[in-house]
C-alpha cells in the first residue's frame, strides 16, 4: 500500500513539473497594496511653504528717530477681533485722543481688503502684471531668478503706492496675521511692515467693535 501511494506521489510530482510553474501572487499583491497605502498616507507630499517677512529693527537708542514716512501715503490696517479688519488713512497722534478718527471696517474677502489695496496700488500692480505677462509670452527673455529681482526693483522704484502699517489688536489671531501679509503679497504692495499697536489705536478698535474698554487694560 505504502509503496503504491509513494509511486502515485512521485507520478504526481512529475506531472506538475510539466506545467508552467505558477506562483500564486495574491498574498504578495495584498502585502504590496498595504505597503503602498501606508507610504501614501505617511508621505508628506507637498512640503510646507514659507513666507518671508522682515520686521523693522527695534530702535534701542533713544536719540535715533524712527524713519519718517509720507502721511498721505500711509495706510494703517488694524487686525481686529473676529477676523475683522479696521483701517484708517494717514496718522493719528496721541494728542487727539479726545476725537479719534473713525475706523472703517472691512474683511478678508476679495471685495474687502484686496479691493481696497489694489485700488491704491493699481499703478504698481499693473506694472508687475505687465512685466509678468511679457515674461510668460516670451517678449522678455530672462531667467527665473532675475524675474524676482526685477520685480523687487519695480517695487523699490515705486513712489505712488501706499505704505501699509499693519497692527494687531490683542484679540486677533495668527491666521489673520498671515492672511494680511499674504494679501500684501497678492496685491504687490511695495512697502508694508508690521508695527506695534498704539494705545489710542486699541481704543479706536474698541470703539469701533463695541468692546467695553473698561474690560481691557490698555498699555500706555
Amino acid at each position: 500500500m505504502a509503496e503504491i501511494i509513494q509511486e502515485e506521489k512521485e507520478g504526481g510530482k512529475k506531472k506538475a513539473k510539466k506545467h508552467a510553474p505558477h506562483i500564486d501572487m495574491t498574498p504578495m499583491v495584498d502585502l504590496m497594496c498595504l505597503l503602498i497605502t501606508f507610504f501614501m498616507l505617511t508621505t508628506a507630499f507637498s512640503k510646507a511653504k514659507i513666507m518671508e517677512i522682515v520686521l523693522p529693527e527695534k530702535i534701542k537708542d533713544k536719540n535715533v528717530d524712527p524713519p519718517k514716512i509720507a502721511k498721505y501715503r500711509t495706510m494703517n490696517i488694524i487686525l481686529g477681533p473676529d477676523n475683522k479688519i479696521y483701517w484708517y488713512p494717514g496718522m493719528v497722534s496721541p494728542e487727539d485722543y479726545k476725537n479719534l478718527p473713525p475706523l472703517t471696517e472691512t474683511d478678508f474677502g476679495p471685495t474687502g481688503i484686496r479691493k481696497l489695496m489694489l485700488d491704491r496700488n493699481r499703478a504698481l500692480f499693473k506694472k508687475i502684471d505687465d512685466f509678468n505677462n511679457q515674461v510668460i509670452s516670451g517678449k522678455i527673455r530672462i531667467s527665473q531668478d532675475s524675474v524676482q529681482g526685477a520685480i523687487r526693483q519695480l517695487k523699490k522704484d515705486d513712489d505712488t503706492g501706499p505704505i501699509v502699517l499693519i497692527k494687531a489688536y490683542k484679540k486677533a489671531n495668527y491666521g489673520n496675521f498671515v492672511d494680511i501679509l499674504d494679501e500684501m503679497n497678492i496685491c504687490g504692495i511695495a512697502r508694508y511692515t508690521f508695527v506695534d499697536i498704539a494705545w489710542y489705536e486699541e481704543k479706536m478698535v474698541e470703539t469701533a467693535a463695541g468692546i467695553p474698554s473698561a474690560a481691557t487694560t490698555s498699555t500706555k
Binding site: 505558477h22 501572487m25 495574491t26 504578495m28 499583491v29 504590496m32 497594496c33 505597503l35 503602498i36 507610504f39 501614501m40 505617511t42 508621505t43 508628506a44 507637498s46 512640503k47 510646507a48 511653504k49 514659507i50 513666507m51 518671508e52 517677512i53 522682515v54 520686521l55 523693522p56 529693527e57 527695534k58 487686525l79 479691493k115 489694489l118 493699481r122 500692480f125 499693473k126 502684471d129 494687531a168 489688536y169 490683542k170 484679540k171 486677533a172 489671531n173 495668527y174 491666521g175 489673520n176 496675521f177 498671515v178 492672511d179 501679509l181 499674504d182 503679497n185 497678492i186
Partner: protein, 212 residues
C-alpha cells in the same frame, strides 16, 4: 457526479504585471517619502500664495500651538549634518549648570520633532523611553521674562550656527499676544527676518476684474 459544472477554464488571472506596477509605485514612494513628523501639538498652518519651499537645514522652527505653548526645533529633526543640535543643548546645559551625558546629547540629536521641555526637566525627558511619558514633559518652552529660556535657545542656536534662520509655524487659531511675545523675544536677539510656514493656496487674480 458533480452537480455544479466547473468552468472549463480556471479563473487564473496573471498578476505579474500588477505586481510589477506595484513594485514600481512602492519603490518610488519609498524613495521619495519624507516621514511626516508627529508634532507635540497639532498645528493647522494658515494658507498663503507663497511658493518658496522650506529649507532643509540652517533653520530653527518655533511652533506656536493653539493653547499658547511654544516648542522649538532645530534643522527639522535629526537629519542635521553638522551636528548642531547637541552643541546647542550642551551650551544650554552650561548656562543652567546641567551636565548632559553623551548619550543624552545623542538622544536630543535624534529626537524627531519639536521640543517644548523646560531645561530643568530636559534630563528626565531624554532619559524616558516611553512616548506617552515624554509627551507629558512637553509643557512648552518657558518664555516669561523671569525665566526666558526661548531667548537663550535662540541665542545659543545663533552662536553655534550663525547662518540659522528663524521659522515660525503657528496654528491659525493661535492668539496674537503669544505671537507678538515671541516676535519681541526674537527681535531682542536681533532676529528681524522671519519665515512663516504656511500651506500653499492657489489664488489667481483676474486683472480685468480689478480694472473695473
Amino acid at each position: 457526479m458533480p452537480k455544479i459544472k466547473l468552468p472549463t477554464k480556471s479563473p487564473h488571472i496573471d498578476m505579474t504585471p500588477m505586481v510589477d506596477l506595484f513594485s514600481v509605485v512602492l519603490t518610488f514612494l519609498m524613495l521619495t517619502t519624507t516621514m511626516r513628523q508627529q508634532e507635540p501639538a497639532p498645528v493647522d498652518t494658515p494658507a498663503s500664495i507663497s511658493e518658496k519651499p522650506t529649507p532643509d537645514f540652517n533653520m530653527m522652527t518655533l511652533l506656536l500651538s493653539k493653547d499658547d505653548k511654544v516648542f522649538i526645533n532645530f534643522d527639522n529633526g535629526p537629519d542635521t549634518l553638522l551636528k548642531f543640535r547637541p552643541k546647542i543643548l550642551a551650551e544650554m546645559g552650561k548656562r543652567y549648570n546641567i551636565e548632559f551625558t553623551p548619550s543624552e546629547l545623542r538622544e536630543f540629536e535624534k529626537y524627531p520633532s519639536s521640543i517644548g521641555v523646560p531645561i530643568l526637566k530636559m534630563k528626565e525627558f531624554l532619559g524616558t523611553r516611553d512616548n506617552k511619558a515624554r509627551t507629558a514633559f512637553q509643557t512648552g518652552v518657558p518664555i516669561d521674562s523671569t525665566d526666558n529660556q526661548l531667548a537663550l535657545w535662540v541665542l545659543f542656536a545663533r552662536q553655534v550656527n550663525p547662518n540659522i534662520q528663524a521659522c515660525i509655524k503657528g496654528d491659525s487659531k493661535t492668539g496674537f499676544p503669544i505671537v507678538k511675545k515671541v516676535l519681541d523675544i526674537m527681535q531682542d536677539k536681533n532676529v528681524n527676518r522671519f519665515n512663516l510656514i504656511t500651506s500653499l493656496e492657489a489664488v489667481r487674480i483676474n486683472v480685468e476684474e480689478i480694472q473695473k
